[in-house]
Amino acid sequence: MDRLTVLCFAGTYGLALIAELARFWVRGAARWYTTIGLTLLAWLVQTAYLVNLGLDRHTIPVTTAFESGMVLSWMVGLIGLYLMAHSTRHTAVGLFVLPLVIGLATVAAWWAPRESDWQHWGGVTAFWGTVHGIFLMAGAVFSCIAFAAGLMYLAQSHRLKTKKPPRIGLALPSLEQSERVNRGAITLAFPLLTFGLVIGVILGVLTHRQHGGPIMVTTAPLSWTDPKVVSMIITWGVFAVLLHARFRPAMRGRSMMMLSIIAFAFLVFTWVGVTALKLPTTHNVRRVMSAPATDAESSPVPEGAVTP
């Protein structure tokens, strides 16, 4: 049922993408209005879905990878809608943004875990867990923007280098504009991801062992060699290099755009890839046991299991 709902707005985004792709054959204003209208409709449906999700769980929907993915696609959708509406009709922003929105929503719906240990903590831990999610999600939004701007830069740069005239109805933002958006997005993404990561590490250490009434619930200890931790550190490292590249003239242009794309790929891998590939990670794995008990006696239970 949940996936069916996601399919509703993802499908509407899909129709908007088809209308956007029709720019190669249909040049009338009606096509542009159809694209904008369908994108807006999809975004409104997605908004209603997220509001419902938040009301249902009595929290901002950023506590699980699934919710974060949905909010991420929703925010990228909003930014994309703004860019599409403010660009000329010939500028093909939607061609880059809409697949990203659809991809994020689809990946979140099908592969992202829908449970998180943060949900089961109360008080300060739950608060910081939400802050951790919000920072990472905001960082991810700007990484998506940097990724889309990078793609547009590379496409435009390739066309200019090969001296091909622009296809009718398929104008791209200028190199300078794409570069500026990319640079701005990276500058914002890095501190957000850093804060999110730091809060996550601190939470991981502090909540390693907590007691709750007769039941003791504990997260499994996060190791530095955990695939999720490793990929997140690599992602952070790539973003650090990207930020550094801002001040390294030699790395401007294509190199920076390629790095943005790599950084985005790592981010997606960290977010859902580790789980989708079933790599042995202890991030977000809950263990439930009877008290009093020791860590040695704890036994893992499947995600979403109902605690007695």
Binding site: A29, K161, K163, I168, P173, S174, R252
Partner: protein
């Protein structure tokens, strides 16, 4: 009474520039020309389209008052003080549906010297606006020109014929826009003070660059060019420094060897902190080593690249001709049917009024003849009463006929595509004609195009 359309004039195909200049309605002549046309041929509507490449008079009016092409030609010769024989061999005219099709092709820029150019649509709009201001257009002129402006936009939108520039200089401006977002913070460096540099700068002026530097081995030439373009003449010996400061470089020297080598520019680019650079090397032989174009943040276009792009744009526009003609043919048929329909509605209303008025007058005359003792006041009262009755009886038929004007395809049971072979009147108009004995529908004349 049928209404006709006529267009007569000269264009870049039919007349040399000297004839077009002689017949041009520039400045105050345009308004005076419209006034003179209205005085010379009363009861007709006129619009004058006068551009560099064409001078055309569009006329619409009842068939019995619209000027003959020869009369309109005579008027043009007389108005401009030109001998008859100097212009008559160059005049071209179109009639009825031919006028509609021609005006649509003009506004879609298919008749322009540069296919797909954007100016003509604005010029058609201005010509129409001027005629509206002078009060020389009414129902037919409004319908015809509003449709022409709409079709002009439609063709551009559907075929993309206005996309891509056709000259080397304007392609260069397009490339600059694809590289840079803003120009107010950019420095343009022109190396060489030749004609090509001038031409490119003329186009680049529209981008409002922040600073223009002009350098040349001959300092005087550089200073003259700098004065012309509001730039700054800088010494050629410091070219390296100027290259570092520049974002957009236009090179047009006549040097036999490259002015900037790969190694030199590599150093320049390092000093520029690898900022985006666009080099338009329009010199022959080339001033910049072609390998410079391989650098990451440098876009290097030589004159052949720009020419090739202009040629591709031209081919792209030519591809749009056939789809544009299909659109125009369809729109012409629809517009002509609409105009014909408007004429039918007007004719039926006029006939209806005159026939009923004649009956009323006949009956009043008979009554007053039979009752010669009626006082003047009684006669006036009876006349007013008969007029009120006539208006009350005709109110609904008139409203029904007017409502037909908004339904040009002949009612809901008629085919939606207007037939060009056998135009049919709306069933309601036929019914009104039949009920009030107004006579049969007169089939319109087949349009003619006289070269």
């Amino acid at each position: 009474m049928s209404v006709s359309l006529l267009a007569l004039g000269v264009d870049h195909r039919s007349a040399p520039a000297s004839v077009r200049e002689a017949l041009a309605f520039d400045g105050d002549k345009l308004g005076a020309g419209l006034d003179a046309l209205s005085s010379a041929f009363p009861g007709n509507e006129f619009v004058i389209l006068s551009t560099c490449n064409r001078v055309e008079v569009y006329a619409a009016g009842p068939a019995d008052t619209i000027p003959e092409p020869d009369s309109l030609g005579e008027f043009l010769a007389k108005f401009h003080g030109q001998p008859h024989e100097a212009i008559f061999g160059h005049l071209v005219h179109y009639l009825d549906e031919g006028v509609v099709g021609h005006l649509f092709r003009v506004s879609a820029s298919l008749e322009s010297l540069v296919l797909g150019e954007g100016q003509i649509l604005g010029q058609v709009r201005d010509a129409y606006r001027m005629a509206v201001e002078r009060g020389t257009v009414r129902q037919l002129g409004h319908a015809l020109f509003q449709q022409a402006i709409r079709v002009g936009k439609l063709v551009r939108e559907q075929t993309g014929m206005d996309q891509g520039k056709l000259s080397v200089a304007s392609v260069a401006v397009d490339v600059a826009r694809e590289v840079f977002d803003t120009f107010s913070d950019k420095t343009v460096l022109v190396i060489g003070a030749g004609k090509m540099g001038d031409l490119t700068l003329r186009h680049l002026e529209s981008l409002n660059p922040g600073r223009i530097l002009i350098t040349n081995r001959n300092v005087e030439k550089a200073e003259i060019a700098a004065q012309r373009w509001g730039g700054q003449a800088v010494p050629f010996e410091n070219l390296h420094q100027h290259l570092i400061a520049a974002d957009l470089i236009i090179s047009t020297t006549a040097a036999a060897e490259p002015v900037v080598s790969y190694d030199n520019f590599l150093r320049v680019q390092r000093a520029r902190r690898n900022r985006l650079a666009l080099i338009l090397d329009i010199a022959i032989p080339r001033d910049f080593d072609p390998r410079i174009g391989d650098l990451d943040q440098v876009m290097l276009y030589n004159v052949d690249d720009l020419r090739a792009q202009a040629e591709q744009n031209r081919l792209q526009r030519q591809k749009g001709i056939d789809p544009a003609l299909v659109i125009i043919e369809k729109e012409t048929a629809a517009c002509h049917a609409f105009l014909r329909h408007q004429q039918d509605v007007g004719a039926v209303l006029r006939q209806l009024d005159s026939q009923v008025e004649a009956s009323r007058r006949r009956e009043l005359d008979a009554l007053f003849a039979a009752r010669p003792n009626l006082s003047e006041a009684d006669r006036e009262a009876i006349e007013r009463m008969s007029l009120r009755l006539q208006n009350q009886f005709l109110h609904r038929p008139r409203a029904a006929v007017r409502s037909v004007a908004a339904d040009p395809v002949g009612g809901p049971n008629q085919p939606q595509t207007p037939s060009r072979e056998q135009p049919q009147a709306h069933p309601l108009l036929n019914a009104v004609r039949h009920l009030f004995g107004l006579g049969d529908y007169a089939s319109p004349q087949v349009s003619r195009k006289v070269p």
